[in-house]
Symmetry: C2
Subunit: 165 residues, 2 copies
């Protein structure tokens, strides 16, 4: 609770897009729910079964994702009384983040030879290529190739210590 | 505390690389610390000043990132008694995730015209291009273009309901 309060205060008005993103998808459960939604999970009961969360906790979390515009509730596709959850465009666009997390995890979070799930594209039956950060010319960029420009710097061209908060 | 326990139990042995990644970088503060480390922050006091975390909390968090092999402690570069933190290779390779989070945040977490920090590559002074998920042939892939293969399926070619846990 302490942390949730700290977080909310610190990132919501940050000028840093990373910090603001983490304000809405910066808890482990949020990206697990979104992962399952990307795989076609729609029903509360199926999220609950797959994620193994208590119903009251999952209820709160789904509500938060709806409040942030990442999921929306729609009538059930089979006409039953249940509602379903689906990703909004904002939610769907988390796909590159999801895939980058997957690729990093495949590389660093499994022992050699340890089995894990794999994604393949339907056409080639091969995993996507490793995601990279690229310049407008298509060169691969690392953190060392980047300058960060804070809003006040772009206005005044003033040099100095910047802070993110 | 309840959540931390649930999380640890549920993801540590998951066959899903997304879930395992979130086990170590799935709390908002972890990626904020890593963001600052990518920007060259090395000293405890500077992390503390930029992130505005209480010292005891930051201490625990830095220790966790060291324990996970994302940061390492090294002697201070100026020969002083302080130690410094730097990213390991495993930590540096979080860069595509960081940039994907930034690009999503730039697009969805700011009002039109609202200012935010920007990254530009040093050579072109332009932001990196939008990150995409690509097939071996360079085609852009969305979640709908992907099949997920679970370990038991790759062994037996059995069709059926898969679960991540």
């Amino acid at each position: 609770m302490q942390e949730a309060v700290t977080k909310h205060k610190s990132n919501q008005n940050s000028v840093c897009p990373v910090a603001r993103s983490l304000d809405v998808v910066g808890e482990w459960w949020s990206l697990l729910i979104i992962r399952d939604a990307m795989l076609g999970v729609k029903r509360f009961s199926e999220f609950q079964r797959r994620l193994g969360m208590a119903k009251n906790i999952l209820t709160v979390r789904l509500k938060q994702l709806v409040a942030h515009g990442i999921l929306r509730q729609v009538p059930a596709s089979d006409g039953s009384a249940y509602s379903e959850y689906e990703l909004t465009e904002k939610g769907e666009e988390l796909w590159p983040i999801m895939t980058a997390l997957r690729q990093w995890g495949e590389r660093y979070m499994f022992a050699p030879g340890e089995e894990h799930s794999v994604i393949v594209d339907k056409k080639h039956r091969k995993p996507p290529i490793a995601m990279t950060v690229q310049s407008v010319d298509g060169e691969t960029l690392g953190p060392e190739d980047i300058d960060i420009i804070m809003p006040e710097e772009s206005r005044t061209s003033r040099k100095g210590k910047s802070t993110y908060r």
